[in-house]
Amino acid sequence: MKRQNGWDMFAFEGETAVTIESLDLYYGSFHALKNICMAMPKHAVTALIGPSGCGKSTLLKTLNRLNDLIDGCRITGSVRIGARDIYAKEVDVSALRKNVGMVFQKPNPFPMSVFDNIAYGPRTFGVRKKAELSGLVENSLKAANLWAELKDRLHKSALSLSGGQQQRLCIARALAVQPKILLMDEPTSALDPISTGKIEELCGELKEAVTIVMVTHNMQQAARISDKTGFFLLGDLVEFGDTGELFASPKQEATMNYISGRFG
């Protein structure tokens, strides 16, 4: 059965979705992530905050191995999704990425129809039947709160949508392959406040089904929607803990300075 390939190969037991241990990452000689250790619980939103260039996106991309594409990028330490070491030799990167979806800072829909955008992932993993694809498209759009808006425009180009719709389409596209984890890299930074609100609301609903790791520039956003927060500075994970606690009584002075707006 070809369908099985990559669909269900991931062991995802236990309470923790992502376990990072002593992770170091280098871009050439540049040490971008320094000895990172963190455990992200399942069915929760983990927020990564910190000033620009501190390594948030880099960390996110180690979780779906999108860093593999960058020349000179070197990683030591271990990253486990569920029980699985994702940097082990035998890991099928494609299956990994099916289980760990990603939404980017700028909406990046493919220049094709809404339907084809969402069907792209399932088709990659061998779904060909029209009825099955239609079902997946409908469910994904519903999950992204887009079905009502787009059900009559499935065959229009995705590029004709508004920015906020495009970003939710990208979320729907990521959901269509039924990932266990969804990575979001500043997903609202290019959007207006109303679209931002819709996406924040969506995150709250989605975490029933998927574990969310979100990079955000916006501390209020982190405080509003996340369960756990990690604060990064110059490649170090300065502080990581429950969101409420971290914002109310940060243990580190740097965290304090950052969340009170003294730099960044």
């Binding site: 390939n5 299956a95 990425r97 220049p111 990659t124």
Partner: protein, 597 residues
């Protein structure tokens, strides 16, 4: 599960190898061309002797009572080539640089785009039309000026070749002028220089190496031009002695005598050896270009320091032109006048050919039967169609594959990319006639295809390959990385990403490549005469001979009887070229609009 995983990985590896091979194809092609031309020329060098061949003053292959070492000398042709090349660079290079300056600095904004389009159009006009224009319009005028009563020779050849290289020079000089940091221009203005002083005193000198590149590329084009030179040079294998003295270039020698040099004969080998000498010239020019580019890059590596008046930047502390007005103003008017001359030349060419050619076009002439009794363009339509199909069938997959390798797999600016670019550029700088000779040696003889449309099409595929690679690569690189990331993040492999996301977004660039290739094929003559043939009948298939429009036109204009036909063919060709140019412009516009979305 594991099986699908490894088989997927194998497929990815195999694909990478295939694309890599496509990318290396230009390198093979360049080596093959050099190797086979020299290999086939070897017997001639050996029998005649390199020294006697290069410096012999007499070319008389049929004077068999003379020693071999005495009757195969190409010095007159080397001198002829150098003469007309110098003339062409003087005419086309000079005017080309001035019109580039005009376009960049003095041209009213509204005229800039249309003028650039016209210059592109000038570049797309086939050589055979330039030659025919020279023959039919320029020569009668020069005849009146010439003391001998014949206008053929050095002057006519220089003017026509100059006109032909002009768009190359203008295009590249314009790019390099536009690349000069605006700080130079503004810096000069802030010191009280006028616009024209700033342009000629500061910006033009700053663009020196780009302008030099433009001139060298123009030189290469002039050295290798065949058909246009053939029609106005007079073709006597003697040393040129004045503006109106007949001459023969290396290329003319090759194309003129190949028709009656029997295979295997020393005569034919000597013609191929002429090609080898031409190739040495072209490769030397390429070498100079490479050095120039190397030097430029070295200079760029140093941190960009915008010139400050305090530093001893000459144009600033000590303006080249002391007085306002004066020389710079004269140069400005000169640039405007010379740009006008270019437009006039273009108008003359197009005007003459359309006025004389359009009335001669009739349905019977276009599509009627063709043979010894009547001539029509039907064979040209069929031949050209077959040539396009063959050439695209080979060049498109290889070219797109190479572009995919360069943009999707290779590290940008890595050594391998540089090598492939260098060879692709070398390939694109080779003269048609060299491709023609290679086609004869390799496709017709070695592969045994004989003189056939297939051999012609394969030869053309090499000619259009660099264009396809460049246009496809450009459009692939224009596709945003965010789309690639989106696809990969969904678990798609590289291949799927390339074929379902990247290539569809690059379609307009690939269509541009196809159109540019077709334009080149439609107007090609020198590469086809001896590979596809110069017959008047309709080819029955890929293995029979056939002549396209340009070769037909050459036949019509050579046999004085058919001058009307030649005009009509020229008009047809010109219309094709105009339509293709318009399509390219549309595609480009689509491309920029797509990027904005």
């Amino acid at each position: 599960m594991r099986d699908a995983h490894t088989s997927g990985r194998k497929r990815e590896t195999a694909a990478k190898a295939v694309f890599g091979f496509a990318a290396a194809f230009s390198v093979f092609a360049v080596f093959a061309i050099i190797f086979y031309i020299f290999y086939a020329a070897l017997p001639a060098f050996r029998e005649i002797g390199v020294f006697h061949f290069l410096f012999g003053k007499l070319w008389a292959p049929d004077k068999e009572f003379l020693a071999v070492s005495e009757r195969f000398g190409i010095l007159p042709m080397i001198v002829g080539t150098l003469c007309v090349t110098a003339g062409a660079v003087l005419v086309g290079g000079g005017i080309g640089i001035f019109s580039a300056v005009f376009l960049v600095a003095f041209c009213p904004k509204k005229l800039r785009a249309p003028l650039s389009h016209l210059i592109h159009f000038l570049a797309a006009i086939p050589s055979i039309i330039y030659g025919f224009f020279g023959l039919a319009v320029l020569l009668p005028v020069l005849d009146k000026l010439s003391p001998t009563g014949s206008g053929m020779g050095v002057l006519a050849c220089s003017l026509i070749l100059g006109l032909m290289i002009l768009p190359t020079v203008t295009g590249i000089a314009k790019d390099s002028l536009e690349a000069v940091p605006s700080a130079y221009f503004e810096g000069a203005l802030s010191l009280g220089a006028s616009r024209e002083q700033a342009m000629f005193g500061t910006v033009l000198p700053a663009a020196k190496s780009g302008v030099l590149t433009a001139l060298i590329l123009g030189t290469g084009r002039a050295v290798g031009e065949t058909m246009a030179a053939l029609m106005v040079a007079g073709n006597a294998a003697a040393f040129p002695t004045g503006l109106f003295s007949n001459l023969r270039t290396l290329t003319i020698n090759m194309v003129l005598e190949m028709a009656y040099a029997s295979p295997g004969s020393l005569h034919r080998n000597a013609l191929i050896a002429t090609g080898a000498v031409l190739l040495v010239f072209i490769l030397a020019l390429n070498g100079i270009l490479g050095l120039l580019r190397h030097k430029k890059r070295e200079r760029k590596i140093r941190p960009d320091r915008p010139p400050t008046p305090a530093k001893s930047q000459k144009p600033f502390s000590e303006p080249v032109f002391k007085k306002r007005g004066g020389l710079p103003r004269t140069l400005k008017y000169l640039s405007a006048v010379l740009s006008g001359v270019v437009l006039l030349a273009l108008a003359l060419i197009v005007g003459f050919i359309l006025i004389k050619g359009l009335p001669a076009i009739s349905p019977a002439f276009l599509f009627g039967p063709s043979g010894n009794a009547a001539a029509s363009l039907r064979p040209a339509f069929v031949t050209t169609g077959l040539l396009i199909l063959t050439a695209l069938a080979v060049a498109l997959p290889i070219g797109i594959g190479a572009a995919i390798y360069l943009s999707e797999y290779a590290k940008q600016n890595s050594r391998i990319v540089k090598v492939i670019r260098l060879f692709t550029e070398t390939l694109s700088g080779m003269p048609s006639i060299i491709f023609g000779f290679f086609g004869v040696i390799f496709f017709c003889e070695l592969l045994g295809l004989g003189r056939s449309v297939l051999a012609g099409g394969l030869t053309l595929s090499l000619i259009i390959l660099p264009t396809v690679i460049r246009a496809a690569e450009e459009s692939l690189l224009a596709v945003g990385d965010s789309l690639r990331e989106a696809s990969l993040a969904l678990g798609a492999g590289r291949l799927r990403t390339i074929f379902y996301v990247v290539l569809p977004s690059a379609v307009s660039g690939i269509v541009t490549a196809v159109i540019l290739g077709i334009g080149r094929i439609v107007g090609e003559s020198a590469a086809l005469i001896y590979t596809a043939g110069a017959v008047m009948y309709t080819p029955q298939g890929l293995l029979s001979e056939g002549a396209g429009f340009a070769v037909m036109m050459w036949k019509f204009s050579g046999e004085g009887l058919y001058l009307d036909y030649a005009y009509a063919t020229a008009a047809t060709l010109l219309l094709f070229v105009a339509i293709l140019q318009a399509l390219v412009a549309l595609c480009k516009r689509g491309l920029t609009r797509g990027k904005r979305a």
